[in-house]
Subunit: 320 residues, 4 copies
Amino acid sequence: MKRVGIVTSGGDAPGMNAVIRAVVRMALPIGLKVIGFQNGYSGLITDQKCPLGLRSVSGIINFGGTILGSRRCEEFKTDKGLKRAQKTLEKNKISGLIVIGGEGSFAGALDLTRLSSINVYGVPCSIDNDVYGTDETVGFDTAVNTALFAIDRIRDTATSHNRVFIIEVMGRKRGFLALSVGLAAGAEKILVPEIKTDLKEVYELLEESRMKGKKSNIIVAAEGVGDMRRIAKKIEKNTGYEVRLSVLGYIQRGGAPTARSRILAGLFGAKVVNLVENERENEVVGILDGKLTSTNLEVVCKNRKPLDLNLLHLAEKLAT
Amino acid sequence: MKRVGIVTSGGDAPGMNAVIRAVVRMALPIGLKVIGFQNGYSGLITDQKCPLGLRSVSGIINFGGTILGSRRCEEFKTDKGLKRAQKTLEKNKISGLIVIGGEGSFAGALDLTRLSSINVYGVPCSIDNDVYGTDETVGFDTAVNTALFAIDRIRDTATSHNRVFIIEVMGRKRGFLALSVGLAAGAEKILVPEIKTDLKEVYELLEESRMKGKKSNIIVAAEGVGDMRRIAKKIEKNTGYEVRLSVLGYIQRGGAPTARSRILAGLFGAKVVNLVENERENEVVGILDGKLTSTNLEVVCKNRKPLDLNLLHLAEKLAT
Amino acid sequence: MKRVGIVTSGGDAPGMNAVIRAVVRMALPIGLKVIGFQNGYSGLITDQKCPLGLRSVSGIINFGGTILGSRRCEEFKTDKGLKRAQKTLEKNKISGLIVIGGEGSFAGALDLTRLSSINVYGVPCSIDNDVYGTDETVGFDTAVNTALFAIDRIRDTATSHNRVFIIEVMGRKRGFLALSVGLAAGAEKILVPEIKTDLKEVYELLEESRMKGKKSNIIVAAEGVGDMRRIAKKIEKNTGYEVRLSVLGYIQRGGAPTARSRILAGLFGAKVVNLVENERENEVVGILDGKLTSTNLEVVCKNRKPLDLNLLHLAEKLAT
Amino acid sequence: MKRVGIVTSGGDAPGMNAVIRAVVRMALPIGLKVIGFQNGYSGLITDQKCPLGLRSVSGIINFGGTILGSRRCEEFKTDKGLKRAQKTLEKNKISGLIVIGGEGSFAGALDLTRLSSINVYGVPCSIDNDVYGTDETVGFDTAVNTALFAIDRIRDTATSHNRVFIIEVMGRKRGFLALSVGLAAGAEKILVPEIKTDLKEVYELLEESRMKGKKSNIIVAAEGVGDMRRIAKKIEKNTGYEVRLSVLGYIQRGGAPTARSRILAGLFGAKVVNLVENERENEVVGILDGKLTSTNLEVVCKNRKPLDLNLLHLAEKLAT
């Protein structure tokens, strides 16, 4: 019986458990045995594992986090660590390894393929949506909605006090989360790392919006833009409006996944088991223009996914 | 200055207000004046209206329902009603009418085009997702998540009492809502009007699932399937398990739209204003394979959107 | 080492798990061993049980339902059943039994005390809030908020369509849930079993409210009032307004408990362990006028908790 | 006709609108005219106002923030400002002023009574719950639940990564919010300004809890405790566990009020109108041991509400 390993790596994202469930439920009926490695890549190194049966994944589709655990693992970035992982995989007779995670996890997976002949399959699961080869990652839609829920609450205070609120969302070095959140929240301005922030333009925009009758403003900013405390103070000083900063932080990672994150988890799980079954070589699953697809792991790691700047302009037009 | 009318019709859907906002915010800067007709097609007949300015649509992006109101209108299905509507449009010098609604509303719009030379533009807004020419309607994602939220709560009781729970969701005569909800909820069985319900198969499935160790079961059923009380009783009688029915009802229509419903509202609003600007003839906007598009109104009305039965099978496999 | 049994019985309520956690965490440090009986009173009869340690109750404070399971148990209403339960308790050397549940569960507990010398302690956990001796039951606040969340969504549709919406909430034969929900929702009318429904008064109230400028109406009705479908039809027929009925059903039982339900669970859990420690005879814990207290089990079972009709009148005044 | 003024002051709290609604709905039928002053005390100074009728407060019971607006007002802390406010009240023939707010707002109200013969009535509305003379303020229950919702999400990540999470909640200089949130969240440790933080004790507690098998930890800290970044770093350094800080911030102020906040708003609104009607002198409404009451304004301002340290110990016992 063929044995496939599965590991969740890097920052957790809502829907990781739904992916694990989908992989197990699709793999077992076609004769694949699924071994879960625990605590991210460190479990690969230290051979922490558990077999996953049909009932092991019962009732987890709606849980945030990951039942396998995740951990940062510096050792996996060294040759020594990679070799230990390779040995674990050999010892357990793993013929394919499914990695559930984001950009950083796939970089680690690519390193592993250089040392080992094992096939590695990626399932993009990340609140940052910064994985090349897929329009959307599992967990992204949930994080967008969590941030939106928070902003809808902050808007009450903004309106009551005629304030400018800056909401800092996650997204690491990219602006995908900020863009979707800002568009959905009706933010007057969205600051993303992909575009150099022009504070003068922000001052003018705020003044203009108040002249048009707006009584409060929401600015959504990606964490990758820079020191938002400093920027908030500058805006307050230069415009004279009351400015408040809210850093949403870790609440964006957790919670029951949305329908979309769960459905994507199901589709990706089925697709990746199909890749394993066909012994495809080092691929990452994805969805592009509504179609399930897969892309070579190295291509995914070496390319930068573009941010749709048209959406950014649309968001700002809609918030006039 | 060109004048465009806007009306929300039929059952309300979360995101209708976000569409109104998007239309107004995109139309005004290009010199279109926007007139809102109130209470659905009945406002067209009786000339109930209000002009919509930039600030009329402030702070509504996150509100369920519709600020323009909606109403059933039997008179609009008669020639007399249609002629009165046509006169209202002429009197107000409306050169294009934007109809925000679902299948039924577009059928009414098509009738209107037969009597009047006015161009009618459709924006699919419906929790049923049963509009041809678009993969998704505004409001659908919200309704799916609301139903999912409800099922996550019911699951607590199902598990605690080892029960079979049947959850009836909306969807009129189609199974789109039931399919997405069931897939996301991890339902063991999804009953849709597109497939004849085979109760024997349901009995067997339930028995099998209990033998595999499942302690409770969730069945998601579309309202279009038939009398669910009767079906629930039959299942209870034939399997011996405790069966409970929960009809989710109107909660599925309301609430703050999800990020996805709001973003789609923005995209559709921008697209429909573009159609008006280019004086395109009777089109309905949509999104197909991730791309914004538009389809002739008559084509939309005359065609039946297919339900993806592969997804149905995937859902049931994942719930084993 | 003294051994105490614990059982959850009857309909589940949010916070049952938080009570189990509190009991275990308070009992163990003072040298009590806790045995959980499973699936309600049927587990007492059939001796289904598990010991509960500190870690058995980790991470359950925010879960709806009950990890011990619950079940209806007709046998427990017979002498034969009670005797079997008594034997189980003797066999397991249980010196006190903690029953987590509502009115029906306490009636069963009282029956048990007649046959057995064991002390039984009640912890009121019920979405109905119909237990004498406490102003509030664990789970009640959660159910009120869940119903409120649903009504806030339905209100969107009510307002958009100028409808009268009747929302049927749970509460068995009492109106506690309906009263709190109606007051919090701003319902124009609250129908409770404690007051005979006068439909003429409802017709007049609705007409009056429309004359005062109200465009839609919310009526909250307890399930114990009677056949609400029939009442809805009567109201529609007699007033001419569009009337819709929404039966909230089982969603009211589930979900993560609110802060208040969890805090009450903690207080009740600590209090009941204190009763056990002091070998008090057959008491039910409660909170009266903000103070933790306990009442004799028989007194609890034999008395009917009054509904505060002043609150009902206040609610209707506030909704004018 | 007697005229009563109403103003919302200080930081906004969920339920302020529900109080405004209750005051208007109770006052009008007994012949009181209600004038709303806008933007907090600054509206009193500059005579910004609007009359409030029955329909002015329709559909606001479930809205966060305040329809009257709120603002910080430094001028109101000066004699000049107070005199201007007094003149506004005289000019508008206001015989009683209802102040909806927290501790700071009541201090301002007390100042006003020293210059003016007008009677001032306080309605405690604050997420901090730091008002003497009432066990609970309107908005507190909502803020507790919002923070709890956030922590339930963060717990997913904490558990997946075996982390210590410190959650900083609001509460100004007091620990009421932190205590209730911590108790409801099952936090291992609750840091409040009322008790000097002993970090050694925290280190030991964390170590002990990990030895007992806990895999992650939640610490809830009040903002008044001190620089939480520094504390987080210290804990990480001294225990070796991964520590993360999440500052919940402004999301705690907003959102639809919970049932309890809305019901309290109704009760307080009715009570304060009763005080106005009876021309009681400078009182603040409250709820003590489940009973509606009122306390002299000066007494409220001069006394410090005690924090229930027994609850703190209970919380920590329950989290072992």
